[in-house]
């Protein structure tokens, strides 16, 4: 079963089921503006989280600067569309390129750093980006940039949440396909290897540093695309895009289900967005909920909800102590024990 779920065919069937459900569910829930907004936000935040996913799950590093790419996407779009009246899709291309350029720069700077140094430098980049957008008049200061027009495709303005939702859904499909392809690609393999065994990476002829920078650059377009969508969805952009909230949301979306599960971030984002949109307890308690969920998962399971399910399944399959010992070999041999 697990083999099927992680196979290409399993992913295709899974994608068809998931997208059919995402298309039908808003209608099933009554199809109101609020419902479509919730589903649109799920798609947008999930897209942003997939950028984080390939860094965290495949490269094994914690990028705390992913909000920079997301904000870069939103700000570039707002600047080009509001101030220069650019075409939305042309602005998307520029937004993606700018986010990749920032990723290249950050990737080159952090090329020889690992673990907490990498995380802190990326974290600092978000704080510096926040100082820049708040202080540079071009970015509208703390008010941000207002006056985003409706997204228009082929001369048709998408004025309602229901009309905008399919765009977010298509973008999500593109990103999911790209992530699945990445994981099967040579770069995806090199990325995993760099994470799990850097020495082996070199032996197999991969350039670990180049791989890290490339994966970092690949993570940026997903977050920038989400930023582009969010700028249109919300109709304005502001320095709050660099808030901890979005960073925690992306991290939780990846960690909650368990890393490297293709539909995991989408599933987790759905839970988090529905809580924030429909069962919100107010800003401060929501912070406790988001921080609490992330901390709880990390403290209790090595691999998110998937780890919990595995532990429950293992507990249920474990033979009872009163049963006579079987003659066969033990079901699972511990080959290596982690140093405490």
């Amino acid at each position: 079963m697990k083999k099927f779920l992680t196979s290409p065919l399993g992913h295709v069937i899974g994608a068809v089921v998931v997208f059919a459900a995402m298309f039908v569910l808003p209608i099933a829930f009554g199809g109101g503006n609020r419902i479509y907004t919730t589903f649109t936000l799920i798609a947008i935040f999930a897209i942003a989280s997939y950028g984080m996913d390939i860094i965290l799950s495949d490269l094994g590093e914690v990028s705390l600067g992913q909000t920079v790419f997301w904000a870069a996407g939103a700000y570039t779009t707002a600047l080009l569309v509001i101030k220069a009246e650019w075409d939305p899709f042309l602005s998307l291309i520029v937004a993606v390129l700018i986010s990749m350029a920032i990723a290249l720069l950050l990737g080159m700077v952090t090329i020889r750093t690992r673990e907490f140094v990498f995380s802190l430098v990326t974290y600092a980049s978000a704080i510096i980006a926040s100082a820049i957008v708040t202080n540079v008049p071009l970015f509208g200061g703390s008010d941000g940039l207002v006056g985003m027009p409706f997204l228009s495709i082929g001369g048709m303005e998408l004025r309602s949440a229901a009309a905008f939702y399919p765009v977010a859904l298509v973008a999500l499909a593109v990103v999911l396909y790209a992530v699945a392809r990445f994981r099967r690609s040579r770069l995806g393999l090199a990325s995993r290897m760099t994470h799990l065994n850097p020495e082996l990476t070199a032996t197999m002829g991969f350039d670990g540093r180049k791989t890290r920078v490339l994966v970092f650059m690949l993570s940026a377009p997903a977050s920038a695309l989400a930023g582009w969508l969010y700028a249109y969805q919300r109709a304005y952009v502001g320095p709050d895009l660099l808030d901890q909230f979005f960073l925690l949301l992306m991290l939780t979306a990846v960690i909650l289900p368990g890393k490297r599960i293709l539909f995991g971030p989408l599933f987790a984002t759905a839970i988090l967005v529905v809580q924030q949109q429909h069962f919100s307890f107010g800003g401060d308690i929501d912070k406790i909920v988001l921080g609490g969920v992330l901390a709880l998962v990390l403290l209790t399971s090595k691999d998110g909800l998937a780890g919990w399910f595995r532990a429950i399944a293992a507990a249920m399959n474990r033979p009872k102590a009163t049963e006579p010992a079987s003659d066969g070999p033990p079901a699972r041999t511990v080959l290596s024990q982690e140093r405490p």
Partner: protein
């Protein structure tokens, strides 16, 4: 000239505060290889507990500060107990993330407890001035400098000259072999973690009176701490003090003569140059 002198004095006070903020992290990082992203929130709670003790219980500042240290130390101990398994297993990625999550959770909790408005710690030392040449410093700033130098001196002495210091250094060197000498790494990690958060709280309680305090504080403090620790040479106690004061002077002078809004960005740029030019300086020194 007067402005320069004022900025110099201001820079030393600011830098001593940065150094105070970073001392716990330096020890924590070198002894336990643990990076605490909620360090800034410990600074924030330190400031807020001090304020609360003074405004709600009517306690004098010098009684409120030790209470804040004890409260934050206890919070730190509870956090450590929860993270114990991750610390002992040295699961660094999850440790980073869990402390980040704690930080966010603490920010939300503190807003509920202390309210969302800016508050002012009414320390009498802010009103007392000491004149130096043509400029002056407040007694609070003098207090920050004295506390920073004293804390660094004590930390250096404890680490280098005492049995406790040998235990900490032993665990930093090799936690598994340290067991052979009867040292329990878990206890050392707990002690170092509590010291680290309490020192952040001390920084919050001492620096807090200089500005209005907000429960949203803390995120920038982590970056300042990181800058000090990196610039001082990771794990180096004396380096931390020098780097803290150096960073304070840089920010005060850059803020006065170039741009206050980009002072922190400029300091960060300096760090980026160091990252590119001298990445070997970033290795954890035990």
């Amino acid at each position: 000239m007067i402005q320069f002198l004022t900025q110099l004095v201001n820079g030393v006070a600011l830098g001593a505060g940065y150094a105070l903020l970073a001392v716990g992290w330096t020890v924590l990082l070198s002894a336990a290889r643990l990076v605490n992203f909620s360090h800034g929130q410990m600074y924030m709670i330190g400031a807020f507990v001090t304020w609360w003790c003074m405004s709600s219980l009517g306690l004098p500042y010098f009684i409120a500060v030790p209470i804040a240290l004890v409260v934050v130390g206890l919070v730190g101990f509870v956090l450590y107990v929860m993270m114990r398994k991750l610390v002992i297993g040295q699961n660094l990625v999850n440790l980073m993330l869990v402390t980040l999550a704690f930080g966010y959770l603490i920010t939300g909790g503190s807003s509920i407890l202390f309210g969302g408005n800016p508050q002012q710690i009414a320390s009498e030392s802010m009103k007392q001035r000491l004149y130096v040449l043509n400029t002056y410093v407040t007694m609070q700033e003098v207090l920050i400098v004295i506390a920073a130098v004293a804390l660094y001196a004590i930390t250096w002495f404890v680490l280098e000259k005492t049995r406790v210091g040998r235990m900490v250094r032993g665990v930093a060197e090799d936690p598994f072999l340290a067991r052979l000498y009867g040292i329990d790494p878990a206890k050392v990690y707990a002690g170092v973690f509590v010291f680290s958060v309490a020192s952040a709280a001390l920084a919050g309680a001492l620096i807090g009176p200089r500005h209005p305090i907000l429960t949203s504080m803390g995120f920038e403090e982590v970056i300042i701490t990181f800058l000090v620790v990196v610039l001082g040479g990771i794990g180096s106690i004396i380096g931390g003090l020098v780097a803290g004061i150096g960073l304070g002077l840089f920010i005060a002078l850059f803020g006065a003569y170039v741009s206050p809004a980009y002072a922190m960005a400029a300091a960060f740029a300096v760090m980026l140059v160091i990252l590119v030019v001298r990445p070997q300086g970033l290795k954890v020194r035990a």
